[in-house]
Subunit: 430 residues, 2 copies
Amino acid sequence: MTAPLRVAIAGLGTVGGHVCALLEKNRTLLEQRAERPVQLVGICARNKKKARPFTRTTIPWFSDPCAMIDETNCDVAVELIGGEDGIARTFVEHALNKKCSVVTANKALLAKHGKHLFPLAEKQGCALAFEAAVGGGIPIIKSLRESLSGNHIYRITAILNGTCNYILSQMRAQRRSFQDVLEEAQRLGYAEADPSVDIDGFDAAHKLALLAALAWGTLDIDSLTIDGIRTITAEDMALSEKMGYRLKHIAQAYPAKTTIHQSVQTCLVRQDHALAHVDGVFNAVTFLSDFCGELTLIGLGAGGDATASAVVSDILDLARGSHEHPSRVVLTATPTFPQARIPTTETMPYYVRLHVDDRPGVLAEIATTLAHEHISIETAWQQATEQNDVATLVIITHPSPSPSMHKAFAAVGTLKPVRQAPCLLPIINA
Amino acid sequence: MTAPLRVAIAGLGTVGGHVCALLEKNRTLLEQRAERPVQLVGICARNKKKARPFTRTTIPWFSDPCAMIDETNCDVAVELIGGEDGIARTFVEHALNKKCSVVTANKALLAKHGKHLFPLAEKQGCALAFEAAVGGGIPIIKSLRESLSGNHIYRITAILNGTCNYILSQMRAQRRSFQDVLEEAQRLGYAEADPSVDIDGFDAAHKLALLAALAWGTLDIDSLTIDGIRTITAEDMALSEKMGYRLKHIAQAYPAKTTIHQSVQTCLVRQDHALAHVDGVFNAVTFLSDFCGELTLIGLGAGGDATASAVVSDILDLARGSHEHPSRVVLTATPTFPQARIPTTETMPYYVRLHVDDRPGVLAEIATTLAHEHISIETAWQQATEQNDVATLVIITHPSPSPSMHKAFAAVGTLKPVRQAPCLLPIINA
């Protein structure tokens, strides 16, 4: 039997607590699978008195995370503190500088400082593993960098934020408003008191930036188009469903002409697409690649247990010595484009929903305005509303370039028969 | 730059040809990701003159696969010959005896001889990698043994045979008969001239046995219940759909009281289950585990390109030196049961379809016969047929133990009002 793998954990919130519980509960299994014991040599959190889901009486407690690394002589430092700067960053840098491998679930930290941290890990010959940072328990990172390692990645399409997906799923299933469901989600603990990081798309953006870094060697959070789910109404939810789609908060990235297109935004997804049926707190990703074709992974994107499973899979890889190439995030000055990528026309169909004066000639006026920007209509559907003189008009366009579509939509919004708060949403191709 | 990884490939059929094509086409990418060149030092197949999808003029050709291993001094021997015995077995054993790592897509060989081959690989300190053996391009093996390594596996539910899934999907979409779709599939090359291995469930059984070995340490193909799709009719396809289900050929395994339950058979799947929407040549697997919860992977289960992607992922793992624990298949004398597994009641609901005399009292007679075996009815649905005096009767039972259900079904079949060819199919719980 090889010597135990010495693990120290900083941060004992939901994820940290469940990692300790997993290490305790499945100790025998882990030892069998790693062919060596996995030993918790130190834990560290702010509040020593808080109740935790594991027995911690025998585990040395530290109040200073960096001192924990120095004093325990650990092999692996697990960062579950969170936050894109502050103690989390100090802790990770300290570990790597001490040639101690790091396992983290911190997408914000890696998305912001990965350009510095990944090369540091390489230089020090340490692992910087982060399976738990994207998609909770789903093996998204391992699948992308190991299972698809022989492939050029053409496109990544994903549902990466459980809060957004939960809210949109509830809005659909129960025909309720965004605000109503958000408040319930906050009461149930599915949404934070300050929900902005989730519902405005930043969390999904951090995760997508990491996937793009693995796929194409570029880590560029600043170039990401970020939008959330605040403006989605129950009406648009119902109308898009009537047209054969589901509304999902979609993270998508693909190599465009000279750059990597990266966006997170609410999109319409065809009802026969695998992602259309991913509901509640589940996350999912679809990779399109040259040899493997379409590969979809679906699982619990958050929660202590599932995320702990991912953290422990990284720890076990280290126990087995399987992190030969430490970070496996190869950042390049210029992105690695597929040599023979699919033709990205950079056009997509759009959903346009308007409230308009219910009188003859209005549809013609709108169609003419769209045609000025060469936007052509695939389907138009109009229905009277409870307000006598107002109709709801839904247009599905043919695939159109984003700039033309936004220009046309702005122009339509200024037309006299068009009432307030029109809605424009893309329909994903994949 | 490390020395090249020397790879020799035996078998240049669909998969072998596409592996060579991938190694050629994505050479630069592979070298970048492995941080060393992957060099094809030998190929071997029966027919030297056949057209292949890659440039082979510069690659040494061998007519004897074992001689290829001896003469090329390869690091990795790739077995793509196929067959559960014969040359494939000789080649794999020869490679392992020469301390050469093996990558194979051969589920039949491993299911039959794994009990001998996995320990041999361990003893020799070689890898015996087989990602391509189960689920084509889907990273099922890696996810189970690496990503879920911290988890007790409660249940595996999967669609593992592309031919079965293609035929069932076409029967549903086009309302056609089994025989009709099978003949078309044979013309299109989706089914073999002798389709038995696929449509009678043996291929799926081999794959499921390997997954059970990874999950619970027992490799026991003989204890598997194996059934196929030959008896499925267009009528049952339509009726099950009317009741809210899809018919799928399902491989399922879970720890029961004293053994591992393993079965492949056509089942009804709820329409809101992720596997219900996996159509055509796609495969999928859902793992249920203690910490990760429900994890579903969906992708191309067959085809040269996708399977080549999986073969190459194993080769790249070896190039990176990530096969520390060679086979990672730990076979134990007694299965490793989850300590706290979900209560497996070993009951499931059933679908019973009968053609019966269309007269009063028939349903009562059938219900009474079922009740004798304590089978209770959840839903019963009856419809007149084109034949004046015959009705179709569909019963969905409450969850029932398999032995009672089969006994009751046999008894119902002997009742006077019940016409020929009644149908009994399980409804999966997961």
